[in-house]
């Protein structure tokens, strides 16, 4: 085959590809939504995911059949979070907005100061042992209230485990909904946060102003 033939072949292949369009399976196309709905009906959708806008950038929401299982800030890397969900829960993951309608709506209301507590089924399967115990404690921390890492450690029955409480917060699979942003340093400064220090400060301000 000569060089001209190769160039001509490439041009023909390009035309051929254009003659069989695939725009109907581009991201967000109705056909993909129908696939996700059918997967849901047939019990094959282990994890539904959806991205929403927030004052803190895009948030990835994921729900297992048991409930909301993951909320992720953009800085965690949404691709990395999807890989984590595939490894730890199931690779049967699809964009499926409907399963996450309630979570998306309640988060919107929360950011708009129209909601003080979330009424969602939560799935804590990504947190284990003491970390999970910490998250259960955090769920009792009311809107606008803060607690020190030391106080949460005491409440979770391990007063010496202050650093472990910090680590449980740093690995909280459900930030915002399980309010690790309400846990602050003993000196009253906000401390680290999954969504960044600025986001933590803004959340505390949002709740204080309401």
């Amino acid at each position: 085959m000569t060089a001209t033939d190769t160039a001509r072949d490439r041009a023909l292949v390009k035309r051929l590809v254009a003659a069989f369009p695939s725009a109907d399976v581009a991201p967000g196309a109705p056909l993909l939504e129908r696939l996700a709905e059918r997967a849901e009906r047939e019990g094959l959708l282990d994890v539904a995911v959806r991205t929403i806008d927030s004052p803190f950038g895009a948030l990835l929401l994921a729900a297992s059949r048991a409930g909301l299982v993951r909320v992720a800030f953009a800085r965690e890397g949404h691709a990395a979070v999807l890989a984590q969900l595939a490894a730890e829960i199931s690779p049967r993951i699809l964009q499926a907005p409907h399963r996450l309608d309630d979570a998306a709506r309640q988060l919107d209301e929360y950011f708009a100061r129209r909601r003080r507590r979330f009424e969602l089924r939560l799935d804590l399967q990504l947190a284990h042992g003491f970390r999970r115990a910490v998250l259960m404690r955090l769920q009792r921390l009311a809107y606008g209230e803060t607690a020190s890492y030391a106080r949460i450690a005491r409440a979770a029955g391990k007063p010496a485990a202050v650093r472990a409480v910090g680590s449980a917060c740093a690995h909280n699979p459900l930030p915002l909904v399980v309010p690790c942003h309400r846990v602050v340093r003993s000196d009253g400064t906000p401390g680290e946060y999954l969504g960044g220090r600025a986001a933590k400060q803004a959340l505390l301000a949002l709740e204080a102003a309401a």
């Binding site: 085959m1 001509r8 072949d9 023909l12 292949v13 035309r15 051929l16 590809v17 254009a18 003659a19 069989f20 369009p21 695939s22 725009a23 109907d24 399976v25 581009a26 991201p27 196309a29 109705p30 056909l31 993909l32 129908r34 696939l35 059918r38 997967a39 047939e42 094959l44 995911v49 999807l82 890989a83 969900l85 595939a86 490894a87 199931s90 690779p91 049967r92 993951i93 699809l94 964009q95």
Partner: protein
């Protein structure tokens, strides 16, 4: 570790759709595509982690397309109707139509080789598996198919 299925759809969905369209002509490619990805989703957790995902998907698509053609043969529809490509935003041009009809008139092995190699974007080893021939034969059929395709559309332009 297995890739999230969402990424499988994004990465391979378009090529599988092209293959479905090319294999099915006037029949419902969207249906074959959906059946393919539902079957794939079902089997996905059992797929070996080092598997060739594109080849696996196109194998399923080929099977679904054959199923659909068999069903359609029992309930014939007007075969002179050109595919409408429902839902595809880029409307086919006259020359797209000519190219698609030309593809359908190729000898079966050449047609299959062109579809899998160039629309499915598969390596010749996979094309050979799909067509049940040697890799050398797959390569030859793809090249001959392309040459014949060019000859046929040139003839039509005259």
């Amino acid at each position: 570790m297995r890739q999230p299925f969402e990424e499988i759809v994004a990465e391979h969905g378009p090529a599988v759709m092209r293959v479905c369209r090319a294999l099915l002509g006037a029949f419902d490619a969207q249906d074959a595509w959906s059946e393919t990805f539902m079957a794939a989703l079902k089997a996905y957790p059992r797929l070996r982690a080092d598997s060739n995902v594109r080849g696996w998907l196109v194998t399923i698509a080929q099977r679904k397309a054959i199923d659909q053609l068999r069903t359609a043969a029992r309930a014939p529809v007007a075969s002179d109707v050109l595919p409408e490509l429902a839902g595809a935003s880029d409307a086919p041009t006259q020359s797209d139509r000519a190219l698609r009809s030309a593809l359908d008139t190729l000898p079966p092995m050449q047609r299959g080789a062109v579809i899998h190699r160039y629309l499915g974007d598969l390596p010749y080893a996979d094309v050979a598996l799909l067509l049940g021939c040697s890799e050398a034969a797959a390569r030859r059929n793809a090249a001959d198919g392309l040459a014949n395709l060019r000859a046929r559309i040139r003839k039509e332009h005259r």
